[in-house]
Symmetry: C2
Subunit: 439 residues, 2 copies
Amino acid sequence: MRGGLWSAAALACVMPAVVQAQEQVAGRWIVTVDYFGTPTVWTLTLKQDGATITGDLTGDVLTGTVKGNEIRFLAKDTVGGSEDVTARLVKGRITGEMLLVDGSEPTRTPHRLAFTAERPPEPASRPPMRHEFVPTRFYRQFSPSNPPALHVNPGDTIHTSTIDAAGIDAEGVRRAAPGNPQTGPFYIDGAMPGDTLVVRIRRLRLNRDTAISTNGMTERGQDARTAVRMAGTGKPVTWRLDRDKGIAMPEAPGDALKGYWVPVRPMLGGIGVAVDARPPAPGSGDVGRFGGNMDFNEMGEGTTVYLPVAVPGALLYFGDAHAAQGDGETTGDALETSMDVEVEVDLVRGKSAGQVRIETPAHLVAIGMEGSLDASFRAASSSMFGWLSADYGLAPADIAQIYGTAAEYRVSALPGRAAGMVLKIPKARLATLPGAKKP
Amino acid sequence: MRGGLWSAAALACVMPAVVQAQEQVAGRWIVTVDYFGTPTVWTLTLKQDGATITGDLTGDVLTGTVKGNEIRFLAKDTVGGSEDVTARLVKGRITGEMLLVDGSEPTRTPHRLAFTAERPPEPASRPPMRHEFVPTRFYRQFSPSNPPALHVNPGDTIHTSTIDAAGIDAEGVRRAAPGNPQTGPFYIDGAMPGDTLVVRIRRLRLNRDTAISTNGMTERGQDARTAVRMAGTGKPVTWRLDRDKGIAMPEAPGDALKGYWVPVRPMLGGIGVAVDARPPAPGSGDVGRFGGNMDFNEMGEGTTVYLPVAVPGALLYFGDAHAAQGDGETTGDALETSMDVEVEVDLVRGKSAGQVRIETPAHLVAIGMEGSLDASFRAASSSMFGWLSADYGLAPADIAQIYGTAAEYRVSALPGRAAGMVLKIPKARLATLPGAKKP
């Protein structure tokens, strides 16, 4: 494997071979390595030609042999790392050891690591179905280590609920510690690293009559004058949600704000997939290529989110629903509430943009989630370049003209580590192009 | 006068008094000072009680006497500066000298400066009228020194035209050097520093069939990957404007962009008033409290711009019209073209926000024009705080809740010195409030 702590080896130990009926080694495997106490998921793809096997182990090119149920191969990366593997296949499960040399370690000390490998769960052969899922546990990391809450097929629909950012459910009962606890993770059978998970938000409805917010301004939004003005604010505010009228009002407004109301516009603040096990798992307030706490107020009904799959099954999480939110979530807490959620999941196999893409009914949306609005502006612009180039066959100079005439830049979220900004391109403009994707 | 090169004095020379019929000294005067070769406009307000006069000279508090047509007073600021003035009033015009001590100069050397003062032109007593104005000169500074192109009353309408950013008019003829040459300046009779100029954009129509743009990306929008992609772009592109259909198309698109079109959405890139004479006048590509090259794509028909008046007559300039522009003017040049323009001007006397405010049919808009999107985000947020506080009686905690539920943040312009960002608050939300302004 290339890079980091995760490069590769030469195995010494030869395991005793027990004679068994020959099993098929070719195909895809999910490898679980015990990496110094951290169970870590890799992928293994094998091709067999007689006794010869080729393929890759998490991207490292391998060659080896298979003899009965005994497997031996050497995988190499491009920076001097390698994995020398000896294993056996018994009853559809590979068990073995690898001698791993990490090409990035100065000493290149070989490490002996145990692993197992299993076939990835393939989607059941059946028509798409709708799952009624009642969550009982909630998670605060986009972690690959949490047990799947439910296995679903690509094409299936999940009907479930989320609790609010503070951990309170529709009945007002605390169900988790505060900090955007997420529903899930949902294991999408057949999803493998390199695929794209498609999440279509079909339904997002209020399921209680209150939301919680604060009356302050996110620190990133305060200039010196605002900071002085805002001293002593940042206190909790309860909002009343009128589900019949579809509006929200502060429960106890002062005289000046009496009568203020906004239409509700339900959205998911958080939606993401598990990161792979190499870095420590990000918390439910974080954002990145895995999605996460994006707090973009157009993440509502009718929006589709494309997420790069990093681990087998993708492990989809969502939560932190808001009844309404201005651009930027300037109050730090939007109108935080629990929600009735229905999403349809799908899979684009073997293709990944490596970053989050969003599609609303009217727009393609690229999101920048960097440390400043300026950096996120550049990141969103760059991300959309890749999208328009790949899907519409446009050259940079063409794309520049589309931006110059049709770009819409909005602030998504500001309270967290990232100062999010999105670039929206109207689909109506792209529909005029020869390379336009047909719906 | 407080601060800068512009503080104040004690006059020695006593001028010979010629006996004349006594004229009225009370009221407002426009003072033109010859400041080391730069003609500089100050304001003078006088109250008379017998032989005693009080008032202020450009903010410095004065006391003095009037005897026949002879005027003497001493004006003082709060940092040790002063103006000691001796002058005479003859036929409605004051001529005199001042000994100015600049409180910020270490030596406080007194400077002897000549000045004249005249009554500000008051609006003619007549119903509002519509002026047909054909521009013959164009200006590339928001300068107080350019001669007024036309005197208008508050309430009047000006129908005129602008040439494009490159200096080309509706007939394709060069009329000025490139760099956003502006039509104007229009002198609004009665406008004085401390007032607010109201500019209602009534009509903004294409008057030719082409626009010029470029196919690059503003430097501020390029991350490293984009910079590599964009190498060799930034070339001119001609756009065809179909005035009947109201659409714009690149004249010679490549295969991938064939058929691309956008609806035209005419806007004024530049709209501003003259700065006072103290700083050097900003160029027509600059922005600030005077307005300027804001390049905000909602500055179209139906939009009202509020500008703080800095000099007598305000001196309104506008130009740099775009047929269409995406958020941020990412190409550096939007669809630059000439335009048929009609604006109605009005005046709010004695009241100024000290910064630009914008009102569209649906939104109040505050604009930040600082050096980064992050700073402009804060500036726009801070500016809107002032607006909602003053006009709607809202406390910071109230305003925070409005932002949190209804703020819309958009990028305005990026190519210049400023990375502009606007904060839009829907009027529909404010209409719910007890303190709402009635239309």
